[in-house]
Symmetry: D2
Subunit: 343 residues, 4 copies
């Protein structure tokens, strides 16, 4: 008897990747597919690269979608809270790829999103789905909030250093570059080919909602509150995130200490690996891998980390499936690619 999985928000990029992973998964089988404006379309119309193109996308209805064991929600911000609660009430486990349940207090949510949360009691009740850092919570929970793509890349690199007491907790800079799929599949002039190709830009400077998410996750893991500034950039490529992170190390810290702290957390992990040289995003795109390098200038105590992931895989759909694997007792890597696509 297979375990069935629904995808709500099947027409977007994240939804497409979820379906691709589920279609090839040894344990999950792809169940009902939900869409909003694309309801009534076939899968082939919205994702012509996927097999089974005659599968239909249907509008979300809680009773109908409750037939599955787990639902992946890949919806715009603010749209997952209600269906998530409806599914949980009906005994369906939920992995939310959106940002509705990532922040753990109503106050943080209000500050980041400028609005009251519709289910404030839920904040803090969801596991934050970076399995390498919060596996116990993920395993134990029926509701997991999959992290943002930028936070995944940054938190993986910073958290072990903060937990090990190796870095100063203030003045961290996260400067990140993202492929355009991170902006979603919605149509806008800002993501037109004419606006993106052959150009780069920074956006949402000092205002991006992934900044408080990063701070919370690092603080939760390390037990120490950190202060950081995060600037996202859009670069002309489909996939991939590269975060270059500037920290200062505590007196006497060596690169060996850094690597030891890394191995202590990730030594047994299949997807997060140390790179001796600065990783390129094409080394991870297509896989669920994260590659991280560290570069220390002992004289100035500067520590620079470079962290590369595929924003749609380890930064979204892959990590969501990884969480679901743990929630159902499967191998955490089941159905997930460990080899990328380069070129």
């Amino acid at each position: 008897m297979t375990t069935t999985a629904a995808v709500v928000g099947a027409s977007g990029y994240g939804g497409g990747e979820l379906i691709r992973f589920l279609d090839a998964h040894p344990e999950f089988s792809t169940g009902i597919l939900g869409a909003h404006s694309k309801a009534g379309s076939t899968l082939g119309q919205v994702h012509p690269h996927l097999a089974g193109g005659n599968r239909e996308l249907v509008s979300f209805e809680p009773d109908r979608f409750a037939e599955v064991d787990v639902a992946f929600l890949a919806l715009p911000h603010g749209a997952s809270a209600k269906p998530a609660m409806q599914l949980l009430e009906r005994g369906v486990k939920v992995v939310d790829l959106g940002s509705d349940f990532r922040l753990s207090t109503p106050q943080r949510y209000l500050e980041a999103y400028g609005a009251e949360h519709p289910y404030p009691d839920q904040l803090g009740e969801w596991a934050y789905g970076i399995p390498e850092l919060f596996a116990d919570a993920v395993v134990a929970s029926d509701r997991v909030s999959a992290p943002g793509c930028y936070p995944t890349s940054a938190v993986l690199a910073i958290a072990p250093m903060a937990a090990g007491g190796l870095i100063g907790l203030e003045g961290i800079v996260v400067d990140a570059l993202s492929g355009v799929s991170g902006a979603g599949r919605g149509v806008s002039e800002a993501t037109s080919f004419g606006a993106i190709d052959e150009s780069v830009k920074a956006y949402k400077i000092l205002q991006h909602r992934h900044q408080p998410e990063m701070m919370q996750a690092i603080g939760d893991y390390s037990g120490a509150p950190v202060e950081l500034v995060f600037t996202p950039h859009l670069v002309p490529m489909q996939r991939g995130i590269l975060s270059t992170i500037y920290m200062t190390v505590t007196e006497g810290t060596t690169i060996h200490d850094i690597h030891t702290a890394f191995d202590k957390v990730y030594g047994d992990q299949p997807f997060v690996r140390l790179s001796e040289v600065p990783p390129e995003t094409r080394w991870v795109v297509g896989s669920n891998n994260a590659l991280i390098s560290y570069h220390l200038d002992e004289a100035s105590h500067r520590l620079i980390a470079v962290s590369a992931i595929d924003n749609l895989v380890k930064g979204a759909a892959g990590q969501a499936v990884q969480c679901a694997n743990l929630m159902f007792g499967f191998d955490q890597g089941a159905g997930l690619p460990t080899e990328g696509w380069m070129p």
Copy 2:
């Protein structure tokens, strides 16, 4: 007991894809990896996107490589003939991704390549590895010559029409666009980012060696010799081939006849499918699929076909594995992706 496969020419793009497919294959296991100038490197140094990065690339030696059941040769033109024969002598089945054994007579080889073939008796002895058209020969043979990427895309679209007597056999035009990985991984000014990005060009006009290969394959399948002209173009993307093919139909032929002829050949095939609209390369890139559309102007008797494949998958490594699957009695689709990567 698994069946083991060697890759000779492991450091190129085709070699990397072969390893990726073999690593995930349910029947084959990845065996010894051969390289020439990169011998002594680890896999991680040449393909940092692949797992098992500490595997070593070694120089080809026939006795050492004879330990496997099948060898995939992904070598520059002219380099596969000798190792192929050495391996065959030692009982190893061979799939050659190069062009050494594609043409079936010494005369054709001489005309196309301007040199005598070192093993002229072998020409005509190799199965031409488009499984959808020449499955019997592939199944029965221990030596298969995997087709060129351009011929795969063009022959799949033309051969059923020629075999069905639906098209004129002269004056066919194949105008094809390729991603840059088709030019291989060798370093040259012509494939530098500065020369490729934001530009397109035609090359080898009236001179490309894939033209006689196309004519031979269509003729072999249909029993009728065809005359065509082929112009390849380089476009700024990594992967994908799109061939736009201009034919004329015989009097009275309808689009229904075209579709019927297509279904007769490919109706049961998992990888070659009819598209109602002109396919885009991103719909197939990452998969072993070929998508083909036909467009008929009944007034002028013009038939235009558009054929899309991933040059490194259906056009190279994927099709080579598909052939090997048949050679060993496995399901022809074993280990091969049926879903692409878009975006």
Copy 3:
């Protein structure tokens, strides 16, 4: 006293290029700028790459725009006919970059566009603005219809051969690749970065309205009606068109004959030049140049031409200014770039 020029449709790509050329022009000065949905915006808001960003875009009103000597209309199909007539009535010369007045009979217009023309008497009264072929008409006229980008690239290559009686007039194939700016600046999923980057596609197969335009222009120049089929493709780059054109030559025609026919037409022309090797679009992008190569297979009588232009310059704004230069008695190259931007 300078000659003033208005741009109607200033917010699009073609409008932006017109302003750029006019701002640097030795004879014309940039006058009033018209826009539709962007009326009320500043130039800096829609074209942040241009100087004088505080210039305002205003709604078109015939009396107000009649203050200039010449108006360039860069509007969507169907939108230029009325303002063109209003300006002409007020004594303003007009260069229309749209397609409203390109076809020379109401019947052709009806067949191509599926609608009656609002000013049928005007069809045939406009000069077709390829100065190298129709200079006399352009010089003598107060109304010029600037050609489509695809027709410019194809007609320049074919017309001299047809006029010289060197090619068969049937069965010509024009297979063309365009950068995405050719699709205009309107926002759509089809021109989003996610849909364009790393992919190619053919579109409007057997249906593109530039096909009858090409046939008409070649016929008008050569006096002989030609039959051709045209397939446009979109490739992932901003600018540039490459047309690969398949013809057959009449018995006995040599490559020398081809070159002689070319020189006869373009020998004195500054912008249209013969290339010995297939031109790459990056060799012309940024300039008003057209580069064309010819490749003859004497055995099969096949002649292949490759023609490269910048779709926004020689294919639109540059050629429009070139026409206006002639209409006002200026040097035809005034203000137009003869050197491209590569890389």
Copy 4:
């Protein structure tokens, strides 16, 4: 009588841009063109986008090149010192686009480049060619060292703030993204299309020689030594640099103070402008402009600047011509584009 200019290193990207600007310059005329490995080629062979393709590239010989009034040297590091001195001895003014004379003491040179300078007495004798900051030195000198592309973008943004005492002088982070033309035209696997397209990477972390150059220039202008860390990244585009710069402001500093300090330095300058929103590189590519925005978080005292230039124009050839204009008493903007190319 025109002023003549030689280009030494004419075959590279910087050389090509110099020729393009000089060909269109109202005061300079393009004189002799020097090349090393490409000596004997025509201009058309190395820069098919430029006019006058039959001009020949010749080997550098000091007496022959001494016929011009000014020489632009666009050579690899280490190659300009000798020809620069030979030309100066012969009375030719020199603008060196390389890095040989940028650092002002032998000690700094030794630390940055790991070698003794061949003409140590020259260090400190060359004007550092950012005209907006060091115009007096440029005007008065016959030898100008044009800055690196990354330093141009960073120094323009930081120097006025340091000079105004508005920022802390330690802990500055310069995180910069560059198009691939910044790596020069040499052929390498690292700049092949396969390695660059659809990927980003950081390189030379903690080791890039532009870091001491930035610190020196800011210190020289402001009179205060600054400490900063610089990380360059390569992104898949031809041109453009975007630097995102993290500073801290002194207590009480407002965004108004920042803008006032900016205007004080650049208020009269044609090429360096304040942007209210984060600039995109496509807004400046093709022009000699620099666009800079500032973003202040008063609570944390963080100041983020975003600075965009075209690396080959304001970051190289354009700025070099701007310096030469001043050296000869021409308008500093003569011959330089103030409008970019977007798209």
